[in-house]
């Protein structure tokens, strides 16, 4: 049974069709990268799967449950099985600990468990010493690592990442990428990353989805997409010869 199944999904914003007739299956425990030029609909697809938005048309299944027309009371518990780390992760006022508590408190966990999870997650990302630091004093790299730690504490079945290293220096990019791979391996989390960085997609993902103008052009293993893609458009994109 696939984790996500998208059937003929379209998403329209004010007469602008961002996703067109998307068919896609996502399997559990695998790492995916969604690549494609700007405006291809990658982030919208991610937001749909994270149940932050609903499709305009088509069917969306999560764990075999149809959610395309579900209301908030159905979506909320499902959304709590996933989380997303975005390009400019936001920290709320307070300390790192305060920020890491938010998702756990929303789930009604007792304080003793919250403290233990925060401790473990900060150790995982190597920032144990920052627990009492004011969140507004963190560097960009630290924020992204804390955002990953915050995500880990929630033990998500699916971790969505939307350009998580876009604003980071090479050292922090390597650190965040390594953490993403570790999360996927250690927790068997399904990782779905949107990235403009093809090398990153190659390093992180087992499967790659190439999108163009709101459509999925090709979905294949990273090896196939980067070495022997079936579609001409994919070939042009990965070879950097696509004009758009």
């Amino acid at each position: 049974m696939p984790l996500f199944k998208l059937e003929n999904i379209s998403k329209i914003y004010a007469n602008n069709t961002v996703l067109k007739n998307i068919d896609l299956t996502i399997e559990s425990g695998i790492s995916y990268a969604i690549i494609g030029p700007s405006g291809a609909g990658k982030s919208t697809l991610l937001r749909l799967m994270n149940l932050l938005e609903l499709p305009s048309f088509g069917n969306l299944y999560y764990n075999d449950q149809s959610v395309a027309n579900a209301n908030e009371s159905v979506l909320l518990p499902l959304r709590r099985q996933m989380t997303m780390v975005i390009q400019n992760s936001q920290m709320l006022a307070g300390t790192v600990e305060d920020n890491m508590k938010i998702g756990l408190k929303l789930r009604g966990l007792p304080n003793s468990i919250i403290q233990e999870k925060i401790k473990q997650a900060l150790a995982f990302v190597g920032l144990k010493n920052l627990v009492n630091r004011k969140a507004n004093t963190l560097s960009g790299g630290e924020i992204q690592r804390i955002a990953l730690a915050r995500a880990i504490t929630l033990e998500p079945k699916v971790l969505f990442l939307d350009e998580p290293t876009a604003n980071l220096d090479p050292q922090n990019v390597a650190m965040v990428e390594s953490l993403i791979s570790d999360i996927q391996k250690q927790f068997s989390t399904t990782v779905i990353i949107v990235t403009h960085n093809l090398f990153q997609a190659k390093r992180i993902a087992e499967e790659v989805i190439f999108m163009h103008q709101g459509k999925i052009i090709e979905k294949a293993s990273a090896k196939t997409i980067f070495n022997d893609p079936a579609e001409n458009l994919t070939k042009q994109f990965v070879h950097g010869t696509m004009i758009y």
Binding site: N50, L52, E72, L76, R79, R80, T83, M84, I86, S89, Q90, L92, A93, G94, I102, G103, L106, R107, R150, L154, F160
Partner: protein
């Protein structure tokens, strides 16, 4: 000249505080949910509502007083309850002045924070209600500024309370109407002294609220 620290003065200070604090508390209770919804939600007609609120933010106190006067005068729709020239109607006039200010400034503060953190909160598993609460908490600096601005306006205004309260001694006389009376009578030193008292009280209340925020959310 009457002594600055006589019983009547304390009565005036107490009434000023009672009226303005009651008005600001009620106004805050009314305004915060409305300001939060306006700051977070997008809906048809929101722009018109916002324009109306921004217009009412500069509602002249004397006009607010006149509206309340007409409502509570003997021939007005609520004349039967005979609240004209009572502290209750002064509170209502001040609520009318404070509410648009708090709604307008709070909605702007909430909108600015919501834009930044709402997506993060949803991805962390917040329900719409939890998200609204957390955004409101995050926007507390702007909200406190909104409440303090509104308090400053109503505590220092004279037009509305004069019109609906009537500046009746031992009944509806507050600091601002006393300043006006003393000025008219040529007691300028007394008027200035009352003005200083008003400023000191404003300073103390602002400091107290800001300190409370700092300690609670440090």
């Amino acid at each position: 000249m009457t002594s600055l620290f006589d019983k009547a003065l304390f009565e005036i200070i107490l009434l000023s505080l009672t009226v303005s604090i009651s008005a600001i508390l009620i106004s805050t209770l009314i305004s915060l949910p409305i300001g939060t919804i306006l700051g977070i939600k997008e809906f048809h007609g929101k722009k018109i509502i916002m324009r109306l609120i921004y217009t009412l933010m500069s509602l002249p106190p004397v006009l607010a007083g006149l509206i309340i006067y007409l409502i509570f005068s003997n021939s007005g729709p609520l004349g039967v309850i005979r609240w004209l020239y009572t502290p209750q109607v002064m509170v209502i006039a001040q609520i009318l002045l404070a509410t648009p200010i708090i709604i307008g400034l709070a909605s702007a503060a909430v909108a600015a924070k919501a834009k930044r953190v709402q997506n993060t909160l949803t991805t962390l598993g917040a329900s719409p209600r939890q998200s609204a609460w957390l955004v409101l908490r995050e926007a507390r600096g702007g909200i406190i500024a909104a409440v303090l601005t509104a308090f400053g306006r109503i505590f220092g205004e004279v037009g509305a309370v004069m019109l609906v309260g009537g500046n009746i001694r031992h009944s509806t006389r507050v600091l601002t109407t006393s300043i006006m009376l003393e000025t008219r009578q040529g007691n300028f030193d007394m008027a200035i002294a009352l003005g200083i008292v008003l400023l000191v009280i404003s300073f103390c209340i602002s400091s107290f609220i800001l300190r409370l925020d700092k300690e609670k959310f440090k």
